[in-house]
């Protein structure tokens, strides 16, 4: 190919990339810009691109006008609890499937893989019924317990722990280490990268989770999480008066995951590459 042709291709590439990049950023830009507008600017026609003077007090008002703080704490407690419990159960089961010989090991692991094929909507009614029978419909336990074991988590940890050399474990056994010693002193420290991957995927997944919290907390506002709270408010504020406050709320909802993502990016990306589209 001649030089001119190559240059044209490069130019076309960049035009394509900048157009696509603009479309990717636009909604995020608008979210932040609109969260700093006055209500008048927000509903003006034609739409405004830039707030005349940024209304930073929107971010204070949002805590006064809606129970943002309560939503935040609920989301934080639920996401942290689920993440910690998933890490523990996945590491235990992952180690068991990877390194311990017992009858049924392979079949049970296949069973765990198979559970991942079952769509969530199959579980909504029976698990809701269970929570009702347990008397947990107004307790955060109903948001936590159905998620404390993850097929994907067990799979991820098992695949990682398999790569730990057996010699290492044999040496420990000869030195008289018990299985729980081996698990806590060899497996857990070595599995840190896999745990970080699973931890950040689980936390972000829970923080953003919507369908189950919607079903549970629609009638239990005291345990409502941020996504449910904000989605309900965005419908309730049909007067347009306070709509831009919801956008401030959305920014506050997004910030923790962005910080966490930037901090643990490497691990998160590894998890995505293993799991496909980003859902667990």
């Amino acid at each position: 190919m001649n030089k001119n042709g190559k240059r044209i291709i490069t130019i076309v590439k960049y035009i394509f990339l900048f157009t696509a990049g603009f479309l990717m950023i636009l909604p995020f830009y608008w979210l932040v810009a609109a969260s700093l507008m006055t209500p008048q600017e927000f509903i003006s026609m034609p739409p405004k691109w830039i707030p005349h003077s940024p209304q930073w007090h929107n971010y204070v008002d949002v805590f006064k006008r809606i129970p943002m703080w309560k939503y935040y704490m609920n989301s934080l407690i639920v996401s942290t609890s689920v993440t910690l419990l998933v890490l523990i159960t996945s590491a235990l089961a992952g180690y068991s499937f990877a390194k311990l010989r017992f009858a049924g090991n392979r079949i049970l692991f296949r069973f765990v893989l198979a559970t991942m094929m079952f769509p969530a909507f199959l579980f909504l009614i029976p698990v809701f019924y269970l929570m009702k029978q347990f008397g947990w419909l107004h307790s955060r336990l109903s948001l936590i317990t159905p998620f404390i074991v993850s097929g994907y988590g067990i799979f991820l940890l098992r695949q990682f722990i398999v790569t730990i050399p057996n010699e290492l474990l044999d040496v420990a056994k000869i030195d008289g280490a018990s299985q729980s010693n081996i698990f806590s002193m060899i497996i857990l420290p070595l599995a840190k990268p896999a745990l970080a991957t699973l931890g950040i995927l689980t936390f972000i997944g829970q923080w953003n989770s919507f369908m189950w919290p919607l079903i549970i907390t629609s009638s239990a506002p005291e345990i409502m999480t941020i996504p449910v709270g904000l989605s309900r408010l965005s419908l309730a504020f049909s007067t347009l008066e306070n709509q831009n406050l919801i956008l401030a709320g959305l920014v506050l909802q997004v910030i923790p995951v962005v910080v966490l993502f930037l901090y643990l990016q490497r691990y998160y990306i590894k998890g995505i590459v293993l799991s496909g589209f980003g859902g667990i």
């Binding site: 909604p27 089961a93 765990v112 579980f123 369908m211 996504p227 904000l230 959305l250």
Partner: protein
């Protein structure tokens, strides 16, 4: 190590015990939150039950829930069709665009920054994306119509026009979903040795031929993996549809998970909703198996 030393025997016994002990939390969980729910769903799909009455006093009605869904329930059929359209179109578009961008980004400066831009929606809550896009699509005050009218394109009621609403949500879903497959494709593309391309160049193959005869075949396991995980995810879409399509007629936008949610938790028809869930599960299973067959390569294990 075949000597029957009693020490080794106790060690083995201990290992077996530890094996069961360490998976016992998971097994307990799966019996409560997997085996029970699946059985329970299946059983109540033959009942008429609204969850307010005790389960024991709800009547068994045989296959009537299933028959109703297939013969009389137009909303179920519409939801089913919408879901199929949504899943296939979204996955096809997302993967095609992601592959195109992955190829373009392969030899470009600051590729990491570009990839981050495409990846941003993946970590953002779908609820937030849905609300923001809802405002962007607003026919009067939304930026989208404002941009389009700048180019002289007529404005639309994106989320309320029955012929447009599902399509508008699909655009948002594709926009939000590119990042994941983009990363996966990039990883696989980098794994293809330059040698293959160099050899093809010497044989006079142009860029399109090289893509078609080298890149695509070598990406097959990756494509299979992304198609299956993508379809499984798209088939269960809920958040975006729930948030964005409230003002559109139900038949034009409802998907299966929204149908499930409404019938079970708004209309309290638990039996019918469970029957629907089982039908949908079977359809998902069949589609997954067909995709696997088309690629003639196994699922997660085939991908390893």
């Amino acid at each position: 190590m075949k000597n029957k030393n009693p020490n080794i025997l106790t060690m083995k016994r201990k290992e077996t015990f530890a094996g069961y002990f360490f998976i016992s939390p998971a097994l307990l969980f799966y019996s409560i939150f997997f085996i029970f729910p699946v059985t329970f769903s299946f059983l109540i799909s033959f009942k008429r039950w609204n969850m307010l009455r005790p389960l024991s006093s709800s009547p068994w009605i045989g296959f009537r829930n299933y028959i109703y869904l297939f013969t009389r329930d137009d909303l179920f059929k519409a939801s089913l069709i919408n879901s199929v359209i949504y899943a296939f179109v979204t996955v096809f578009l997302t993967l095609s665009i992601a592959l195109l961008i992955a190829v373009v980004l392969l030899n470009i400066k600051y590729a990491v920054v570009w990839r981050f831009i495409f990846f941003a929606p993946i970590v953002t809550p779908q609820v937030a994306l849905g609300i923001v896009w809802g405002y962007l699509y607003d026919p009067n005050r939304g930026l989208l119509n404002s941009i389009l009218s700048f180019f002289g394109i007529p404005t639309h009621h994106w989320l309320t026009d029955p012929s447009l609403a599902l399509f508008s949500v699909m655009i948002t879903a594709v926009w939000a979903g590119i990042g994941g497959p983009l990363l996966i494709f990039t990883a696989s593309l980098k794994g293809i040795p330059d040698l293959y391309y160099d050899a093809a160049k010497i044989d006079g193959a142009n860029a399109i031929k090289r893509f078609w005869y080298i890149t695509l075949p070598l990406l097959r396991p990756t494509l299979l993996f992304t198609i299956i995980t993508g379809l499984l995810g798209a088939w269960q879409v809920f958040d975006l549809i729930y948030i964005m399509t409230r003002n559109a007629p139900a038949e034009s936008v409802w998907v299966v998970s929204l149908y499930m949610y409404q019938i079970a938790f708004q209309s309290l028809r638990m039996g019918r909703a469970s029957a629907a869930a089982f039908i949908l599960f079977l359809i998902v299973l069949v589609i997954t198996l067909i995709v696997l067959r088309i690629f003639k390569k196994g699922g997660i294990e085939g991908y390893e």
